[in-house]
Amino acid sequence: MRHISAILTAIVLFITASCDNGADCNINNVAYNRIQLYSAIADGDTIVSGKYSYPDTLTVKLVVNGNDSIIVNRLVGASELQLPICFTQECDTLVFEYSGADNDTLYIEHTNIPYFVSSDCGMAMYHHLTGLRHTHSLIDSAAIKEAFINYDWNENIKLYIIE
């Protein structure tokens, strides 16, 4: 009888200790678009590039319903940006304001994916990048590296800056 009690106690402890709900919830339900800056230096016919930090101040504004909203304010030495994506539109407009150069506008086209994570974590909003357009003041080119935007720390967009 004592053995059976010990076995049952061990089973209960084992079960209690090993039950895992797998929940690793994000505090807010925003999945950020991660942009990495690269230099774009023309070397003859080829473009030499590497990771790049913009040496002056950079301000990034979201254009929401025709109104500007500052999301990055006078950042010095920017090398990467984490920007939110709009839940309800499928094309976001970002204005890059440089000190000492004309502004650039970056249009990010995407689909929105509302996603049920779990009853513990609730809902999340993911996105899928479908296209990029931009002006050419300091932005030489832009490329999608990882189209799916979720909570993972992926580099989603490569932004090549003219030095």
Binding site: I11, S18, C19, G22, V30, P84, C86, F87, I113, F116
Partner: protein, 229 residues
């Protein structure tokens, strides 16, 4: 001559008694029980799934058919139907599903003692492979965009999902009266894989419970030994 007759008679008698003895010995050898000898079927239904619905979201019912092989191994198949219809208090998410699930596996009698008459009650270990294919409906309050503003509604119906998992457990099986038995089994469940949809993870797996890596469950079975072997 008398002596010769005596020898022949005694040899005949000896042969007459020896042949049946040899035959008997041979028959004993041939009827020595195989460790996997089929010894009957048990049909059972679980009542724990119904009772559990009073304390936790989700309900299920199932039946099982179990074969007795030599009182030691009990291959078993289980089929059930389970579901859930809940609205989460924290997020207001409504989730509804009803779907069948299936399990197949083996019970092993820990109380088995080779060469001895087996007791009617026994403790066993259980191992199962299980799966469920389900459709579910899910809806949530509109998602609010904390940066850009605005809201996006979310509702999906008849979303497909699939999950498979393993179960390991221990249980007891006790004879109650004539062919009727009862038993319980506590099981540790480990999810193997789950197929989610483009817009949602599976929230509830019939026969398993809430979609988690691991969980535990139990059965309390009413068992009937079918009257044929």
């Amino acid at each position: 001559m008398k002596i010769l007759n005596y020898i022949l008679l005694s040899s005949f008698l000896l042969l007459a008694t020896a042949v049946p003895a040899a035959a008997q010995e041979k028959r004993d050898t041939s009827t020595e029980e195989s460790p996997l000898k089929f010894k009957g079927l048990m049909l059972s239904t679980d009542i724990f799934g119904y009772l559990y619905s009073f304390i936790e979201d989700g309900t299920s019912g199932e039946i099982a058919l179990e074969a007795n092989l030599g009182d030691r191994f009990f291959p078993v198949v289980e089929a059930g139907y389970g579901g859930v219809d809940f609205t989460d208090e924290n997020f207001g998410i409504h989730y509804k599903t009803n779907a069948p699930f299936f399990r197949a596996g083996l019970n092993y009698n820990f109380s088995y003692v080779k060469g001895k008459a087996q007791r009617p009650n026994y403790v066993y270990g259980a191992a199962r492979f299980a799966c469920s294919k389900m459709d579910y409906d899910i809806s949530s309050p509109p998602l609010h965009d904390p940066v850009w503003g605005g809201e996006l509604p979310f509702s999906r119906n008849d979303v497909n999902g699939f999950a498979s998992w393993l179960e390991l457990g221990v249980g007891v099986n006790v004879k109650i009266w004539k062919n009727f038995r009862m038993g319980w089994c506590v099981r540790y469940k480990a999810r193997i894989n789950v197929v989610n949809s483009a817009n949602s993870n599976v929230g509830y797996i019939p026969g398993f419970g809430r979609n988690r890596h691991t969980c535990f469950g139990a059965t309390y079975s009413l068992i009937y030994e079918l009257p044929f072997k």
